[in-house]
């Protein structure tokens, strides 16, 4: 019988890293396979023993523990065990015990090693640590940058060319290029046909370095008959041409006429340009109605950014810059209506907008820190009016009212500096559940408008106190344990640590279970280390630099965060493209098996950092 007809082969074909392997390789593997079974609570591999097979779990689940008894992980269908000992020559260093009755597909060591040797992808998968595997996955996705460029046409990227006749001197051209701020010039004949190109570099190489006179004709130093592109070409064509020929400027020719020029810089810039334009339009908006209209393009913007394979970090910045611009513009419009502020104040935002990690319109979280010169009778109306104007405007633009009423319109969050300072003192020195809820919001603050020094003074004081208050830190750590990543996937379902909470079949909340845990941990460690950054990525950078955590662990966490965020963003972009409102619920079946695997790796990284955090702060005392 042909091995293709057996289900075992089909099963192998869907298990990373065996996916996408040629049929004959899969057949060879299937034919060399052995099958073994272990009932529940059996030690399949014992530390110190010899192991001669790499094991793929076909059904069931196992628990892997380290020599010191620490749990390394729980693995299920589609996971591998025993491959490390096979690679190292056979001695088992982790105990594998079955949690359920388990069937394994066992690949004998010689076949497994030969197979690893012949397939780079397979080797990488088995030899890399999980965090490295994740890193490579991210790079692989990033590697598809060409895809984004492929969707863009040269006509969208090109700039108007500087045209010069053949009879100009080098000096005259240099002056013209200077005035036009152009890095290249097209030399054309009288009928407009392209004769040659001159770039900045030519002045150095062909004039100065070769000691030529600047009064000779430009035709002496131009590159004649340069390579050209058409307006309909794709951006990726330009990129290829530049890379192959090592050139940085390419003329665009249509019907024999020079219509534009594309530079390497333009190609790079094109990636984030769209947001910059939108922010520009927002800053010039005349009224709230215009802001409302401009704000509507935010979901489309997200799709563009995701398709351009920008990093989650950059996408967060770009999307947040839109909300920030709208807020700032509303404040400026408010000043036009109510006049300049009578006393200094800072308009502050909290949450994802403060962290610059927005992916869509969010609830508004904001407040006002007023100067201590504030007198209710004298200034009260002004700030109430401004706060209402901004809050209503934000709501109209899609940043809906905060359900928890954390808005400058609420008297509690529109207070003089000393009152704010009192709030923070209380939150830090006598942590309570309600205070903790505020902590996760108000320890991420950014001043968007007004006198930023009011917030800075507040934050400096906060950081020196959070650094010393270990009880506060322990409470924050406990809070940071409230959302945990799922264990992974199990027979197409999300595998939960907490079996009671098995609502997972609708999809897992990637925000709560992946993004928020990292944000919470970064906040805790930043506050514990007295580190100022607010953005999670910047916090992680600072945490590594200050060695609050081992830099390599921070690297792992950063990659996990990037991967989880990217999956979430791609999911949201897909929803928007289908005309739906984006959410955070990703159904496991929407993911490829490889994505699931990487996501599982990412969850493992987050989970293990949470565990170390919990044991460091002994959070179980506070639960």
């Amino acid at each position: 019988m042909e091995i293709e007809q057996l289900e075992i082969r089909d099963y192998l074909a869907q298990c990373p890293p065996l996916t996408e392997l040629p049929d004959e390789v899969l057949n060879e593997l299937a034919m060399g396979l052995e099958i073994q079974y272990a009932r529940r609570d059996t030690n399949v591999l014992t530390i110190g023993a010899h192991n001669g097979h790499a094991l793929l779990i076909r059904s069931g689940a196992v628990e892997v523990t380290l020599e010191n008894g620490e749990l390394y992980g729980q693995l299920s269908e589609g996971d591998w065990v025993g491959h490390r000992s096979v690679i190292r020559g056979g001695t088992v260093s982790m105990t594998v015990r079955t949690l359920e009755d388990t069937l394994f597909y066992a690949i004998p060591a010689p076949l497994f090693l030969k197979f690893m040797e012949n397939h780079e992808r397979v080797r990488r998968y088995f030899t890399e640590r999980k965090p490295e595997r994740l890193r490579n996955a991210i790079e692989e996705i990033r590697g598809s940058e060409g895809l984004a460029l492929a969707t863009q046409r040269i006509s969208e990227l090109m700039k108007l060319p500087l045209l010069a006749g053949r009879n100009h001197t080098i000096r005259e051209l240099a002056v013209q290029m200077n005035e036009a701020n152009a890095q290249s010039a097209m030399i054309v004949s009288d009928d407009g046909a392209l004769n040659g190109i001159i770039t900045d570099v030519d002045f150095r190489k062909r004039v100065v370095a070769e000691g030529r006179s600047v009064d000779i004709p430009v035709t002496d130093i131009m590159t004649p008959d340069p390579l050209t592109l058409k307006p309909g070409n794709q951006a990726s064509d330009a990129l290829l041409l530049m890379a192959r020929r090592n050139i940085r400027h390419v003329p665009v020719v249509d019907n024999g006429q020079v219509v534009g020029v594309v530079s390497a810089t333009d190609l790079l810039r094109s990636q984030s340009q769209s947001t910059i334009y939108l922010v520009g339009d927002i800053s010039a908006a005349k009224d709230v109605a215009r802001l409302e209209a401009l704000s509507k393009s935010l979901p489309k913007m997200l799709v563009t950014l995701v398709n351009q394979s920008m990093t989650a970090r950059d996408i967060g910045h770009a999307i947040t810059s839109i909300g920030q611009a709208i807020t700032r513009r509303l404040l400026a419009l408010a000043e036009q209506q109510f006049g300049p502020p009578p006393i200094p104040y800072a308009f502050i935002v909290a949450g994802s907008m403060a962290r610059r990690e927005q992916t869509a319109h969010s609830d508004q979280d904001n407040g006002m820190i007023l100067s201590d010169d504030y007198h209710e009778a004298e200034h009260g109306d002004y700030f109430r009016n401004v706060a209402k104007f901004v809050s209503d405007g934000l709501n109209a633009a899609g940043y809906v009212y905060c359900p928890g009423d954390i808005m400058a319109t609420n008297d509690q969050w529109r207070q003089p500096w000393s009152v704010w300072n009192g709030y923070f003192t209380q939150w830090i020195e006598s942590p309570q559940p309600k205070a903790l809820m505020y902590s996760s919001i108000f320890f991420d603050l950014r001043c968007l408008y007004g006198d930023a020094s009011l917030l800075e003074r507040l934050q400096t004081g906060i950081l020196s106190r959070t650094r010393e208050q270990t009880l506060f830190q322990a409470f924050m750590a406990g809070n940071a344990m409230s959302h945990r990543p799922p264990l992974g996937f199990f027979r197409g379902f999300v595998l939960e640590k907490d079996r009671k909470n098995a609502s997972a079949d609708e999809g897992m909340d990637l925000k709560k279970r992946g993004v928020v845990p990292v944000i919470d941990m970064a906040r805790l460690y930043a506050l514990a280390g007295g580190l100022a950054p607010i953005n999670t990525w910047e916090r992680l950078d600072a945490i590594a630099e200050a060695k609050v955590l081992t830099p390599s662990r921070v690297d792992d966490l950063r990659d996990a965060f990037e991967f989880i965020s990217m999956v979430r963003l791609q999911h949201q972009a897909q929803q928007i493209e289908k005309g739906r409102a984006p959410n955070n619920y990703v159904p496991p079946e929407e993911l490829s098996s490889l994505e699931r695997r990487h996501l599982k790796d990412a969850f493992d990284v987050v989970s293990s950092l949470q565990d170390s955090m919990a044991s460091h702060y002994q959070t179980d005392r506070f639960r």
Partner: protein, 231 residues
């Protein structure tokens, strides 16, 4: 000294003198596995037949699939599957169940060739089948036709093993409970969609490993004699 019955080895030696085919002769000349062998150390051949019906006199073997268990693991490298050429037209019901059509069957091999190969592979091993009386009776019928004699067999029946376990625990047994698919589910073995003789032989092999694993002390005290079918 006279034994009250002929030992299997004696019977096999006598038969060997009257059987001509070298594969059959070698099979008979190779001693049976010792009943005191620990079950996990024994080599097995796990077998499944598909037949045109259940009557071994009237019906024929349509296909045979088998694999081996060595050192407690099913060996995919030992998987073998043959479609057998049958000289009668296939009853339509059979075609539906086994998805073997006349055309495909004509591409098969002759029963005697398939039997020689099977007997060769059985040599030195113990046979395993699920509801083994089918395999046993059809195998014996084929042997009678090809060699003129039924060769003695050492057989383990995964269904009978399960039934004995349930009987011991005095639980009522529903027949459907003992079907291959249902038993596999009970042991957390994956559900296989396709049915052909080889896939079912693999499924039976996995079930046997599961049954041993679930025996007291994970079967490490069991000897071959504890699991073999009588006679």
């Amino acid at each position: 000294m006279l034994w009250p019955f002929r030992s299997p080895e004696t019977r096999k030696r006598q038969l060997a003198a009257s059987v001509e085919h070298p594969a059959a002769r070698r099979y008979l000349e190779t001693p049976f596995a010792d009943r005191r062998t620990p079950v996990w150390e024994q080599d097995y051949l796990v077998l499944d037949f598909e037949t045109t019906g259940l009557n071994m006199r009237r019906d024929a073997i349509l296909s045979m699939g088998y694999t081996e268990i060595h050192q407690g693991r099913v060996q995919m490298s030992a998987c073998t599957h043959h479609i057998i050429k049958v000289n009668i037209p296939l009853p339509p019901a059979t075609v539906v169940v086994h998805k073997i059509t006349d055309d495909r069957m004509n591409a098969g091999i002759h029963l005697h060739d398939a039997l020689h190969e099977l007997v060769e592979r059985m040599t030195g091993k113990v046979l395993i089948a699920h509801f083994a009386q089918i395999e046993r009776s059809f195998l014996h019928a084929a042997m009678e036709r090809v060699y003129g004699h039924k060769l003695p067999l050492q057989v383990i029946d995964t269904l009978a093993l399960e039934k004995r376990r349930l009987d011991r625990s005095q639980q009522p047994v529903r027949p459907s409970q003992l079907r291959l698919g249902n038993l596999r589910q009970q042991y957390n073995l994956p559900r296989y969609g396709a049915h052909n003789a080889l896939q079912d032989a693999i499924a039976t092999a996995e079930l046997y490993l599961a049954e041993l694993s679930h025996a007291p002390e994970q079967g490490h005290k069991l000897k071959l004699g504890d699991v073999l079918e009588p006679g």
